[in-house]
């Protein structure tokens, strides 16, 4: 390739200068250039890369760079950058696709390589640290090994010395023992020698003594003897020989007899003593046995979990021993068999007792160690827990008591007696006033009720009177009508119809008429009102004539007024009641004779209210 001409960007003068400097100096082969390019690429990419990368390929040497790259890539095994040539010597077109693919491949490769490099570096670091660590360990272990070797040597040395000492001491001991033995032998031999000599000397001595005495006796002029004072002499001056009676056999035998008697007495006496001692000891043993049995038997009655075979044996033993006791008591003699039996049974009982005590000890120790929970036995831990809980409870209770006491004290001491009484009075007053209010209410209600009752009764009376009056009027009117009707025949049938209509259902012809009498319903006694209404309806002649209607109306208006009068009374009597306002309104509605339905409804509602209110009042 020829010289590369630099193309400098106007904005990057310094860097490009460097680059240009660098690249202008090169006049080398593409491969070296390529390596230089790689070196350049290792420079940090913060510098302008584009100018760098543009150093390789410029606008002038595109073809060359393409061919170069193609060569390189093909050597690396990538597909060619050129398109397939159609013929020789023709200019090959650049295969863009191939170029892009190659670029991609190269990028991928680059990434892989970077990753691999990273991994390798990390691994390298790890291995380096491992190596260090292992080296340290190795050094330490070497040291330890050294020290332990030295110790071992020292100990071995000491052991050897001690063994030497031991051997020496053993040797000394043996020597001493040998010496002792030797000395003892010497002593023994000396003793025998000495005895022999002593005997010899004694014999010699005796012989000499005899000879001396003989000699002395021969020359016995002077008697060197005791001076006998107060010589108790006999008649003949001689010493009488004392007949000791050696020769007489009877004496001899008698002596023998006496001697044997004495001996026998002594033996008998001793035997008696021994027998007595024996009997006492046997008694003691039997008592011990009985006590042991009694000790063991109540224990075995309780079915303990750890009861083993010994229980069975004990029970059988007890039975056996009972029999034995009875037998033994009769045999106070020390027969071999009885003695053996007694000792054996005692031994058995003792063994059982011992095993039992051991079991108890084990039990206690188990409870201490394992916290074993038996039916009867509470483990120590549980016990402790329980006690802790109880203590806590006690604490809490105590605290509560304290606080309560404090509060009480506060209550007691914080206010004086007066204030307390005042307070008490205040409370009482409050209650009293409440009660009073309630009483007053109650009384008012009572009054109201009384008033109502009175008014009702009055109303009822009045109603009755009015009814009477009305009936009389009706009767008179009917009479008149009848009288009038008798003049006109054609009105009879209508009247009859009317009558029948009235007598029948009253609702058909004149709903208003019905409504009117219905007004009267609540104002009588609540239960007995429908009767009067029906009567009223009956008494009312239902003639469509307006005059009649007016008349009836007038009657009704009267009644309504009376009704309104009646109805106001309960109004007045209960000013306090809640919900009265609506009824007042209704009543005001009712006072208007036009809206009779409203009045009716108002009546019914008030009635209902009155009912309810009546019920409410206690």
């Amino acid at each position: 390739m020829g010289d590369w001409m630099t193309v400098t960007d106007p904005g990057l003068s310094s860097e490009s200068k460097y680059i240009s400097q660098y690249t202008s100096e090169t006049k080398m082969s593409p491969s070296s250039l390529y390596s230089q390019q790689v070196l350049c690429s290792s420079i940090p990419l913060s510098k302008n890369v584009h100018s760098f990368f543009s150093a390789f390929c410029t606008e002038e040497n595109i073809e060359q760079s393409i061919s170069y790259l193609d060569q390189e890539l093909t050597t690396f095994g990538f597909p060619s950058l050129y398109e397939e040539s159609k013929g020789k010597e023709t200019k090959r077109e650049l295969n863009i696709v191939a170029v892009l693919n190659c670029m991609n491949e190269l990028l991928v490769l680059q990434r892989k390589n970077l990753l691999a490099q990273e991994n390798v570096e990390t691994q390298n670091l790890k291995l380096g640290s491992d190596m260090d660590h292992l080296q340290n360990c190795y050094a330490k272990l070497k040291e330890q090994l050294e020290t332990s070797r030295r110790e071992m040597i020292g100990l071995q040395e000491r052991d050897r010395q001690l063994q030497c000492k031991n051997r020496n001491l053993h040797q000394l001991l043996k020597n001493e023992k040998d010496e002792v033995q030797k000395l003892q032998n010497i002593i023994a031999s000396r003793a025998t020698q000495y005895n022999h000599d002593m005997k010899r000397k004694e014999r010699e001595y005796n012989k000499l003594k005899e000879r001396l005495h003989q000699l002395v006796m021969n020359k016995k002029d002077k008697k060197i003897a005791m001076e006998v004072l107060n010589y108790v002499g006999r008649a003949d001056g001689k010493r009488g020989s004392w007949r000791t009676g050696k020769t007489e056999a009877s004496f001899f035998l008698r002596n023998e007899d006496e001697m044997y008697k004495i001996l026998l007495n002594d033996y008998e006496y001793r035997q008696k003593q021994i027998l007595m001692e024996n009997a006492e000891l046997k008694k003691v043993l039997q008592q011990m046995k009985k006590e042991m049995i009694s000790l063991l038997s109540p224990q075995k009655q309780k079915p303990r979990e750890r009861a083993d075979d010994s229980t069975g044996t004990v029970i059988s033993d007890i039975e056996e021993d009972a029999g034995e006791l009875s037998r033994e008591s009769t045999w106070d003699l020390s027969c071999e068999t009885v003695r053996e039996q007694l000792t054996n049974s005692i031994r058995k009982q003792w063994r059982i007792l011992k095993s039992h005590v051991e079991k108890l000890d084990n039990q206690v120790s188990k409870v201490h160690l394992e916290g074993f929970n038996d039916e009867d036995v509470i483990s120590r831990q549980d016990h402790e827990q329980e006690t802790e809980k109880l203590e806590l409870e006690i604490q809490q209770c105590k605290e509560m008591i304290k606080t309560q006491q404090q509060l009480l004290q506060q209550l007691a001491t914080a206010c004086d007696d007066d204030t307390t009484s005042l307070l008490r009075d205040c409370y009482l007053l409050e209650e009293k006033e409440r009660l009073k209010e309630e009483w007053s209410l109650f009384k008012e209600q009572k009054k109201n009720f009384e008033k109502e009752r009175r008014s009702f009764t009055e109303a009822a009376i009045r109603l009755g009177l009015e009814r009477k009056a009305f009936e009389e009027e009706r009767a008179s009117w009917l009479k008149q009508q009848f009288l009038n009707m008798t003049t006109f025949d054609h009105q009879n049938s209508e009247n009859l119809k009317l009558f029948s209509a009235f007598s029948g259902s009253s609702d058909r012809d004149n709903p208003t008429v019905h409504s009117r009498p219905r007004q009267k319903k609540p104002h009588g006694a609540p239960s007995g009102s429908p009767v009067c209404t029906s009567k009223l309806t009956k008494s009312l002649p239902a003639s469509p004539s307006t005059s009649d209607f007016c008349q009836t109306r007038s009657c009704v208006s009267e009644y309504s007024s009376s009704i309104s009068v009646l109805n106001t009374t309960p109004e007045e009597s209960k000013p306090n009641q809640v919900g009265r306002e609506c009824t007042n309104q209704k009543w005001s509605v009712a006072s208007r004779p036009d809206s009779q339905e409203g009045c009716c409804s108002g009546c019914s509602s008030t009635h209902a209210d009155a009912h309810i209110e009546k019920d409410d009042l206690p």
Partner: protein, 370 residues
Amino acid sequence: MNFSEVFKLSSLLCKFSPDGKYLLRITVWSLCTKSVSYIKYPKACQQGITFTRDGRYLALAERRDCKDYVSILVCSDWQLLRHFDTDTQDLAGIEWAPNGCVLAAWDSCLEYKILLYSLDGRLLSAFCAYEWSLGIKSVAWSPSSQFLAVGSYDGKVRILNHVTWKMITEFGHPATINNPKIVVYKEAEKSPPLVLGRLTFPPPRAAAGPLSSTESEYEVASVPVSLQTLKPAADRANPRIGIGALAFSPDNCFLATRSDSVPTAVWIWDIQKLRLLAVLEQLSAVRCFQWDPRQARLAICTGGGKVYLWSPAGCVSVQVPGEGDFQVLSVCWHLSGDSLALLSKDHFCLCFLETEQGVGTAFGQRGDHT
């Protein structure tokens, strides 16, 4: 008067008679019939002749042709009942048991051997504790014949029982006492009260005479107590070691011993419990002690001017009143236990023991008391 008892006394005197020794025979003098009888070849050993307690039999140790024999004689007619040889090298002593049925015979100190023969001459048992060292020094029977105490040169007392004739226990005599249960009585001098105005020159005689006129009392020493020991000369004969004296109390409860290596102390053992009960340490070496024949009361003398009495209740030191120095060399109780004879070299003193008051004394010349 029982003939044999009198005779016992008389023959005891004869034991030491020059007549018997010279002629190598024992002369039995009958004081009633004024007749004489001779017994040949008695052995001149420490305790060669012994009467049974009831005076019926006499056991005599003899030696003929370098062999020891024992003859049992009936005292009533001086018949020879039995004659047997003993398997001893050099019979040192014989003693009847108080019940008169067993005879103990022991060898000289060169050999530890004690043989027990029954009345009819059968050998019942032989006991030997150890060999080669110096052997038995003293022997004592308990009054009930149940125990036989053998004191030996190794400083121990071995108790044999009469049933098996085997050792049941041995009592050692150490120089230091550590057990706090043992009561140690130490005799201490009471300093004489200084009387002002009487100091004369030369100093009074009381200082010169060591202990004869000074009062002394017993103090209870607290354990541990170390007693004064005497180092014996190892190369001489008859070394001062071993149990020199043994005595049982008449009620069989106590045994009093003296160890010659601790010559100033008297050890009192409780036989019922077989342990040491009390130790009395005197200011000088104990010479002699004897139990009261009736009760457990021990009288001790040390060659000074006092007699010491011990009983389980306590002990007391009594000054023998008298002019000059009265050196009590031995004591002897009266059979009734009421009086005590204190013997010095040429005087004797009779003490009367009263229950409440002190001791009364009466003096007498020792004279022909031998």
